[in-house]
Amino acid sequence: MLNFARFVITRAVMALITLIIVSLFVFLLMELVPGDCAERYLAFKNTQGSSIQIANELEAERQRLGLDRPFLERWSKWIVGAFQGEFGNSCILRVNIADLLGDKFLLSLGICLASLALAYAIAIPVGIIAAASNNPYLNNSLRIISYLGLAMPNFLLALMIMLFATVYFGETLTGLFSSQYRDAPWSWARFVDLLKHAWLPVFILGWSATAFALQTVRALMSDEIGKLYVTAATARGVHGRKLLWRYPARHALGPIINSLGFDLNRIFNELPIVALILVMTDAGKLLIDALARSNDQQLAGAIIFLLTASIVALNFFTDILLATIDPRVRKSIVR
């Protein structure tokens, strides 16, 4: 038990270190953009009609925003804030980033996790069946579907579905909420409305994730099925579904749990673009707006950091989960 606690703590520390390195990347990225916040604020003030002495004001403004402090100090301040969910103000939109993001980030995260769940809900049974059966047609068609999932980037799929929907149903299937619920507070009706709209992004994001997951599950299962302990179990008279689920599937589960973090990463990759096409009002769209339209690095940095933090968190939890369910992993920790 003590060893297990030590394992958890080691993992937590490693996750923390990863996050700190990531925050360094993100912060450097924000810093490297030409023009700092002081200049942006002054430029804004100028458009509001106040004529100011640029040089003097700029220094004063920098001091006020703390931009004259050394890099390490600003970075540590940013990262301490980031861990508390506080990212300061966006200097282009001049609003607090945490307020701006609000529940939009959670909404995006929810959609991504739902796609992940969908992907594995399909991939695990189908992958196991494909690995167990010797039907070449089934295997080949699954292979082609998987490749198609890779070759057809999600944004193309989104476009195609919209094309289909517009041509045949005359509906564009965009947005996350109906207009009457868009700014309404959370309620059951709003949630139901969300579900009505969210199935499409979930499906689109889940599509390529499913293709990848299918490949993984099938490969792992076919590896395991050929092993001696499966033959031994068959010899003892275990067969059919019971055999598959009790022996090879349990072994294949470990690597699958391990790969969840990277699957989430892949889904996040597609999120902004799918969000753009489907005109969703979530974090992905905000990210694109921040980067493509207004060059708002504070907001972009915050979103990238949050996305990465959720991947790191998921990786941490899958590590712990793996150690709890797999005695071999547990033993190797105890060692």
Binding site: L156, T166, I311
Partner: protein, 399 residues
């Protein structure tokens, strides 16, 4: 890995290498084949295994076809892909398919019915395009058209096909009247270029970082791996977007093209670096390396003759596999407006305008290039997969 002897005998290049399990029988032919097998170079072995995979071979043909159509895009495409080659009388025009027969009879030469624009009292003074079914415009081969430079050097103005009069748009035109077929061919070339530059940059970075990591091992390896892993956790496309936003909006299209390729390379290295490191770490502890060292081989000899050949094939395979990701990232980036911009033809640029309901309802031919890109990416994936299986000397033993 290279458990086969290495001498390269040019005589053997054409010999079909048999399955090693069939070597039981004796005979001159078998003896010859056996010898060919054991003295074949790694390249010949990989090619022999690759040829056996039908899907990969088909994909390879598609790939070669697409690469050539990209390479000769200026010649194959009837018009200039930029606004310079536009047909201002046929904007948002439907695809024109050459035909042999119409209501006035048949001809041996394919032709199309030209479109005419008119504006009169009858059309309420709006421009209306309509197809004139009584006129025929015949296809010609090697007509003179827009000037171009093939491979950037050979000047020419001949195109593969065109019309005697007027312009032919096999895939239709976009809202500026640019020929979608010409743009598609040029876009394939753009994708290939972006992918190649991106992959090469990623490869060089990966070789340095992964090489240092795998060669030194120890704490250097741990630190580098920690940074690489942290970098890999960051979702790539949002990161692409953040870095692409650095580009000043006023730079030229060519400069943008290089920036994008460089960014793709800079973000694509971690996966490759990790593989190179793993190859190095496992290979340098193999028995054959130890054997070579015990025989008194210098470390440069070990690296050149044993370590490098043992994983060049893997590296090539990795490069082929990472290629479609580069292409897809570029497309996605251009699509959202952070990548390439308009004078350059690229699938992402071409699809930018295709999201509006107007286009979806009325001008579906905007989506024809998508099919080409799916084929391109699929071909790369299948070839990469086939190469991976072919490069693995144990793939046959396992089956």
């Amino acid at each position: 890995m290279s458990n086969m002897p290495d001498p390269t005998d040019p005589k053997l290049a054409g010999i079909n290498i048999p399955n090693p399990t069939q070597f039981g029988a004796e005979g001159d032919n078998d003896q010859h084949a056996k010898e060919a097998y054991f003295t074949a170079s790694q390249g010949q072995l990989i090619w022999a295994r690759f040829k056996k995979q039908r899907a990969a071979m088909i994909a390879a043909f598609f790939l070669v076809f697409l690469i050539f159509s990209g390479l000769f895009a200026p010649f194959l495409s009837p018009y200039d892909p930029t606004v310079a080659g536009r047909n201002k009388d046929y904007t948002n025009g439907a695809p024109q398919i050459p035909q042999f027969c119409d209501k006035n009879g048949c001809s041996l030469r394919p032709f199309i019915h030209p479109v005419e624009r008119e504006r009169s009292l009858a059309t309420n003074f709006r421009w209306v395009t309509k197809i004139n079914e009584d006129k025929r415009s015949y296809l010609t081969f090697l007509p003179k058209g827009d000037a171009y430079k093939l491979f950037g050097v050979i000047k020419s103005d001949r195109h593969l096909f065109g019309l005697e009069e007027g312009k032919l748009h096999v895939f239709g035109t976009d809202e500026d009247g640019q020929d979608i077929f010409s743009r598609t061919l040029h876009a394939i070339w753009t994708s290939l270029q972006v992918g190649t530059i991106g992959v090469l940059i990623a490869f060089v970075l990966a070789l340095i970082i992964g090489g240092v990591s795998g060669y030194y091992g120890g704490w250097i390896d741990s630190v580098i791996q920690m940074i690489t892993d942290a970098f890999r956790t960051v979702p790539a496309i949002p990161l692409f977007m953040a870095v692409a936003a650095f580009m000043p909006p006023e730079i030229s299209a060519e400069a943008r093209f290089f920036y994008i390729s460089i960014i793709l390379g800079f973000i694509g290295w971690p996966t490759l670096a990790r593989r190179i490191r793993t190859h190095l770490l496992t290979e340098r502890n193999q028995e054959y390396v130890l054997a070579a060292q015990l025989c008194g081989a210098s470390s440069s000899h070990v690296i050149r003759r044993h370590l490098l050949p043992s994983f060049t094939s893997y590296i090539i395979v990795d490069l082929v596999i990472s290629f479609p990701y580069m292409v897809l990232s570029e497309t996605a980036l251009s699509f959202i407006g952070l990548g390439l911009k308009d004078p350059v033809s690229s699938l992402g640029v071409m699809l930018q305008k295709a999201t509006s309901a107007d286009v979806m309802l009325n001008y579906q031919w905007y989506f024809i290039p998508v099919a080409f890109f799916i084929v391109l990416v699929m071909a790369f994936v299948f070839v990469g997969d086939g190469l991976r299986d072919a490069a693995d000397p144990y793939s046959e033993v396992n089956k």
